[in-house]
Symmetry: D3
Subunit: 325 residues, 6 copies
């Protein structure tokens, strides 16, 4: 049970502890029901079919269940899959941590936390500094474990903080090139912009949207948190700097069509939107290129207007992006 | 000084107390500066040109100044205007109330207040009822004097409450036809939906957008008020009914392109949007038809996609709409 | 054979007279052809698969055929279906009425007819009154049995008249709130606006678009009927009131993209469009909420821009909407 | 009075009979009202300013008035204008024909009529042939004198028939290249497609939209004519060939956004739309190029998405297009 | 083996040499892999399923393989398919030409070549004439064998030249009707506009996009060819006529959204775009109508905004379009 | 003549050498023609009116003329203007350099050149390195003096190279954060992406679009230069690295609607587009904020979707952006 799920080769048998990330019942056309199961651990995800499933099987092997899986890796239509020999549900009392079955961001939590704290020191405006520190403390556990999305960009454990850290690096470079940009405001915006996802999403495992997430959305949810923080910290909620910070988070999706409650009307708000967009774009394209051989185009990338991207033949140096997920 | 501004006839002279609603300096092509002044009182607005204006004149006769105007009404290119003989600035100590120079909604404040209070009783959900009553009390003075817009629909003193009252009447009819609609939620939504305008706009006289109005917008501003009210009333802000009410106000513009922070996802939220849209549309078309002779098309109406509307030749019964502004 | 199709429980056997609403041939991947059949009676529709079907079976069990069905209700992937034991085609001579296999609007024809006739009395303009009465008489049978759509809103027997009646109720409320609206014109528009569907659609059973429906559309088809009615009634087709009525029906889809031959250019035409849109929207959302448990979102609703709507946890009073279909 | 308006040179004096095509009152910034007059005869249009105009002057020199003009042609900001010495209104009893003051299509009425009649013979389907001949006869006078538009393409006397003739030539070429196209249907469509303009527009002089034109539009107006013609000719209005012909005219604007009541659903309907579009486009670009020197771009052409077109330096052979207007 | 693939009737057995145009592996729900094969020869394409396929079968029967097929034509869900009895791979040494398995344009290469050469003589501008002749010679073999598209319009052997020839015929008719159009420029544009496809596409058999095709596109690829031709022919690349010709090819898709590097800014460029669009549209609609019975609508045509087109009941003369593919 | 144009105060007289950047004739409503003149030197631009101008004056004081201006600075409607006392045309023989009348980029040419050359060393791919060096040499003089636009972003002398340099700085930061990005390709793309403007624009003084610029556009013009450079350097134009570089420049506008001949299909191409967009956006917003007082919104910025941006009250540190123009 030492080896990770993705480390088995074609034809190799396995006996391994994995989580069922997703379970869907289907029926073959000859009338027999079966389950499509996505098994996962920290190394990744592989599919397997469980034939002749009963209603009880469907309940037993639901999404989120941890099982001891006995099976064999096979190649099927250019994609790996698991031929299932047998499975046994493993109870929570048998000693495991759900987080061991979820992929994590390529940077460790300590390092993410350290980088962010360092930037907080550079937020010179005291109002912004206090609100950012208050909320980082209030939501600390969630902020450093949640993904940045259900399935799109940075959809890994710790992805939210990882996304924040790469954006802070971008922001640093840009404020070096353009000294007219208010670094404090841009840093505060980077750290808070997606923090509402700790309320919008259900958590790092088997992530779903919450009802609040669906009906209010993470932009207004973090705005709510800023209002409550300001009240708690006895800051005047009508002061200009509170209004500026709220505008940053409320406008960071750029266009209303993409969820912005307001179009950016500050230089820093426009930049926050652009950096956010750039970081998510680089992540999505890089991930698609990882699965593509040099000389070929990627599959369609839905988040990029269904475009395909080309991996040049001469490309051999993309290994460092392996760390992405 | 008994007669109102709009009651003078073509060629008639006047000596009257009016407010300069708007003052703009222009220069004629022969090099002489002059002022374009819009005079107003409770009966309406007429333009006049002040020739050979100095810089001092421009400062003296700024927007918002009250003057004693001596002049004559003339017809010019199918529009009335004032030929100015003389003007004298009237100080605030000379005893007038700014509100006397602003047009008002056709229904009196007492009646508006009574109608709204009656509907509040029909809001059966206690959370919604308490929040609505709390905010109606907190913003009472503003809510019953502010317009609903700077220049578009219901841009009159008390227009905000007037718009709310006609929407409540529409909501009553609709919940009669469709019993599956939650009347309490729809009424609460109608009353609160535009209340954020008390923060978005500067007031009933010489109305402008505030900085908060520009950077946050009235949808999120009333959301903020609901959050603070819930905290004050010790209601659980995570309770479903608070979330539903917030969704109502955050989504009432329907489409993100029109300012909705979220698209409606409740039957009642969709209806709130539709009623709001319908009431504003009827107001805009009716106002344009008032200025149009039977058998002709109105001028272009910007809020209606630049459409023109036709006033039928047979139409003689539109007098009741005179009350609009 | 007393029980209706939808009244059987999971696992219960049935012997029942039903119509095959739709029949499609498919082939399983192991090469065997089978039929997907949708059985329906006045209580609703359930699917069943007919395995190992021959070409003759496909012809015998075509859409629109009435059969005596012997089978059992089963639960399959969260949806009910029928396991077919045997079927026998029932000839028209065996004494049934097609209408007994089609769901009907929740209000009886007599009541619909009575409500509409009452409104016709309130159409004071004699031209509109005569045209409306002429066409109601000419198309009486179709108007009170056709659905308002093939599969979208009010797709039930009598749906066209039912849709008309709820719109007339809305129109009544609105003309009470806004006296400047011409009630006669709005009522005439409500009654005629969708009447072209009696030519656009094939009928209440197994509804399809006619060739005329596809090539001309119901807006211009009812316009044609108005022209011919005016000629028949010896009304001057160039008179303004005929032109106004034609404009009402030609513009009632609001935007050209949604089929309007002209954008509304009368206050009443704009309102007709808004009421039509509102009634169809309420119908579609209500129907989707009926199939949704409190605390959940509906499936995607195609006619509502693929939005999902939320049914609040607190919701228990939606039973009255059961009557919808 | 032999010379035409456009034949005078810069600085030359004139005494000439012209029509005031358009008259607008303006006020100079030094407070003096004046009239902007557009004078026209069959050779074209030139502007002149009438200074110090009284209200009586404005009424006397209204749009559509014929005057004896005494003045001088001057160059002003690269455009010619008339310096007015004096004007005298000329009564209708003094013997002139309004048509002499309006520019005409470059082909004579007899020739247009002959070309169209020749094509009618090639419409082999008897239904289409009879309807086309019936309507050509009914609207003969209007069809051969009306323009095809108020100000856009083919806005000259006889422009409607001229536009029809060039389209018929295009249709002939296309049906030669693609024998699968039904020539009869395409020819019938070409002849009728814009004939509704005889009801939509007010006439060849001082052209305006009629109320019917605004509220119904020329596509549905010609559809009405086809319905009435079919009734008159005792043709079955439900017959497929009548429906096809109606579809041709109802869909000829291609997209609903451009006024089509239906998108084309016949090969011939799609072609009718394309030929119409092409002919109007060539007219608009050619007219703009006529006013442009080789080596330069035209002014913005509103009907062509505000594009500018380039007239090549090598271009010297565009003289034949002078005939356009 | 004399009969062509499409000439066999339902139920008839065959032993025939065909190419596998496309081969895709699928798995049936009972777990068995199989191949979907599209067999083709010069007469057309039919599908067949190869059951219980191994990985080796998939490699053996790859796209582009020629096989001796023993099987039987069957009707399946209204579409013909082949029931496969056996297949044998036929080596290239067994004497066949790939072109015999690909459908060809309905006009012979000699005739296409002759028509185009005749038009080249009418290109009077020597620069355009020399460039056109240079490129026709350089790419002669490809130009007369490549299709005009991978799967959309004119996707047959020789389709590129066939498309060019019908466009030249259209251009001739149009320049006859409108003498202001520069025929030389329009002809040169027609001949070159799609010639970049000889670099964008891989060839007439099993056509794919090349990397250059994907990253540069055929508009800029033919622009490159013009630049290199001008250099080779020692023509001044800055001369206006070279720039005009480049503008023609770079703008011929009309709108940037459809791939135009520049919107047309010459009358001839606009016409080139319109003719190209019209020819492709006629081809697509005609092909769809060929598969449709009189009185029915075609399937959705993706290239025509998913519209369906109607084939009139009276239509019996469409046989000549059979030649299309 | 030591003081620069922008250094004079309100009411101060001047005698100064300036260029007439733009000259337009207008006529006042009392019939007198006058010239609107925009005077400029390296410090900026101010308007002045030249009253009672003759045709000869208009020719004498044309755009691009250098004059000795005697006048006085005045404040007029919140904007400075020059009251002209007298003007004298100064001949080119009187010893001045046009460049002294044009504003320059805030960084000196030597420094721009040095920064760019340093980056060229980091382009490791020999093909890209040679092409970049070849074209930098070929267009050296133009590249370091041309603006990046006629009136939008970086519309100053040397603006093209200045824009390139800030983009290279951005590119450096981004390739540090994301090591998977090919730095060589991104740098080569930055340097070449706008170099086609040396052919698209007429030069640094009185900048206009060339005919080539209008008909071909700078994206395809630099593509042409790469093709010719590759030929000159005997590089294989079909090699992948040439194709990749061409794709970079052809796609750098991102969307076809904004002029991209191809949408980006390389990670580096997408980044080039984003950096270009970001740099132009920062420039446009910063410039607008420079003219705006703290606590106010800028005028509408056309290049930013007509948005207004807010300059916070607390903002005092924007002085460094003064250098922009």
């Amino acid at each position: 049970m030492r080896k990770n799920l993705m480390e088995y080769n074609d034809g190799e048998e396995m006996e391994i502890l994995v989580m069922i990330k997703e379970s869907k019942m289907r029926t073959s056309k000859n009338g027999k029901p079966y389950l499509i199961l996505n098994f996962s651990d920290a190394s990744g995800t592989i599919r397997g079919n469980y034939w002749d499933a009963t209603k009880e099987d469907a309940q037993r092997y639901a999404s989120g269940t941890v099982v001891e899986l006995n099976g064999k890796r096979e190649e099927y239509q250019d994609h790996p899959q698991i031929k299932i020999f047998s499975m046994r549900v493993v109870g929570e009392n048998e000693g495991y941590d759900f987080s061991q079955f979820v992929k994590s961001a390529p940077i460790k939590r300590e390092n993410l936390e350290e980088t962010i704290n360092k930037r907080v020191f550079e937020i010179l405006n005291p109002t912004w500094n206090r609100i950012v520190r208050y909320l980082l403390k209030k939501w600390n556990q969630e902020f450093f474990t949640f993904p940045a999305g259900k399935s799109n960009h940075h959809a890994v454990r710790g992805g939210l903080a990882f996304h924040t850290v790469t954006m802070l690096k971008d922001a640093e470079g840009i404020t070096n090139t353009y000294p007219q940009v208010d670094r404090s405001l841009l840093y505060a915006g980077c750290i808070l912009h997606d923090m509402g996802k700790v309320l919008e999403l259900s958590g790092p495992v088997a992530t779903k949207y919450t009802t609040e997430g669906n009906l209010i959305g993470h932009l207004v949810l973090i705005d709510e948190q800023i209002i409550l923080a300001a009240k708690e910290l006895q800051l005047d909620p009508e002061a200009e700097d509170v209004v500026l910070l709220r505008h940053m988070v409320l406008s960071h999706h750029g266009l209303p069509e993409y969820g912005a409650a307001r179009r950016p009307a500050l230089l820093e708000a426009e930049l926050l939107h652009m950096i956010d967009d750039m970081d998510a774009t680089i992540y999505a394209i890089t991930r698609a290129l990882q699965y593509t051989k040099p000389g070929y185009f990627t599959d369609i990338i839905p988040s990029q207007d269904n475009r395909r991207f080309y991996r040049p033949k001469q490309d051999e140096a993309i290994d460092n992006s392996q760390k992405l997920e």
